[in-house]
Symmetry: C2
Subunit: 203 residues, 2 copies
């Protein structure tokens, strides 16, 4: 298909392009207007496809949303691991990850807003429960890091979940505040915020 590959921006997207358009449209609408401000018909319109077409790519809305979530998780994970080295000391690694997360959220506000919506929804709780007992993921990098911090006695002797809370809680909160316009995070502030988180964590 597409014997002449250029031109034709509107019509005839390749199959993957179309799937991506749908996913992107869903991301934008859900991030901006919440799960319930994103009806399938509107997603279809924004993606430039018919309403029924979505169902050729996704069994139903739940599946679409879950696949979108997986996509984002994967992207975020990739960003986090970029330049990450298990050789460095625990503190440096924590700061690397924290900075990467914060930068990512700030430069991809739509992703961040969607992830927040997702986590505060029936989907999110199920997903989280699974994660704490099963799969491999972003959090495993953190889990590894904190476990190492524990045996080296550089972080406080607290349950893993509490360490997560001390590390993520402020980062997520501050990212949300930045995106909602309640504060402007520049590089200096990002550094200070993450250093403060480390102060909470360190023994």
């Amino acid at each position: 298909m597409n014997v002449h590959s250029d031109g034709e921006a509107e019509k005839s997207m390749a199959k993957l392009e179309k799937r991506d358009e749908i996913v992107r449209a869903a991301l934008e609408l859900i991030a901006e207007h919440g799960f319930h401000g994103a009806p399938m018909a509107m997603i279809a319109e924004k993606a430039g496809v018919g309403a029924g077409t979505i169902y050729r790519y996704f069994e139903n809305k739940d599946v679409l949303i879950n696949e979108l979530y997986r996509d984002l998780e994967e992207r975020l994970c990739a960003v986090l691991m970029e330049g990450y080295s298990s050789e460095q000391p625990v503190r440096e690694r924590f700061i690397h990850l924290g900075t990467a997360i914060l930068r990512y959220c700030i430069s991809n506000p739509l992703d961040f807003r969607f992830l927040e919506q997702f986590h505060n929804s029936p989907y999110g709780v199920v997903h989280r429960r699974d994660k704490l007992f099963g799969k491999t993921d972003q959090k495993d990098v953190y889990r590894e890091l904190f476990e190492e911090g524990l045996v080296q006695h550089v972080v406080k002797q607290l349950p893993m979940v509490v360490l997560f809370a001390l590390a993520f809680g402020p980062l997520i909160t501050v990212a949300r505040d930045h995106i909602l316009g309640f504060v402007v995070l520049d590089e200096a502030l990002i550094g200070q915020a993450i250093a403060a988180c480390w102060d909470g964590l360190k023994r």
Copy 2:
């Protein structure tokens, strides 16, 4: 019937009782199943009133939800201020407030879950925006506290919003994890978690 006012637990609630039943039912359903697992018909059933009756007490669902929020905010605020004294040092006051919040969330999981839902919704953002620029509320206690901490040079020189994030972020996260059953917070852990938050905050 009912010549004598006692007995008859089922029938004939006083007007305020009925309002409270509706609010309580809404709280339970929204806390447990989210905003969208709480249709008016179900709230009515749980409250033991007819669907139309709700509209004699609340103009519409939005109003019901906002009044519920105000009720909870008021209760929480009262709990926070119980035994609070502006005379004590900043650190002690922070620990008092943190402990009170955490204890409240743990012993009132429905309230906590509802408040979380509320904050992650169109309602919540509007409300927050208003707060940062206008009204008197719970957060003002914190604001006062942090401002005093700043001038006394006992907390880090950071924007108010970032201080909020460092203080609340972990507390909320850890409360959520407790309620979802990912960790069991006892008094010892509560104390350690709050102390860790303070480590993040203090200069």
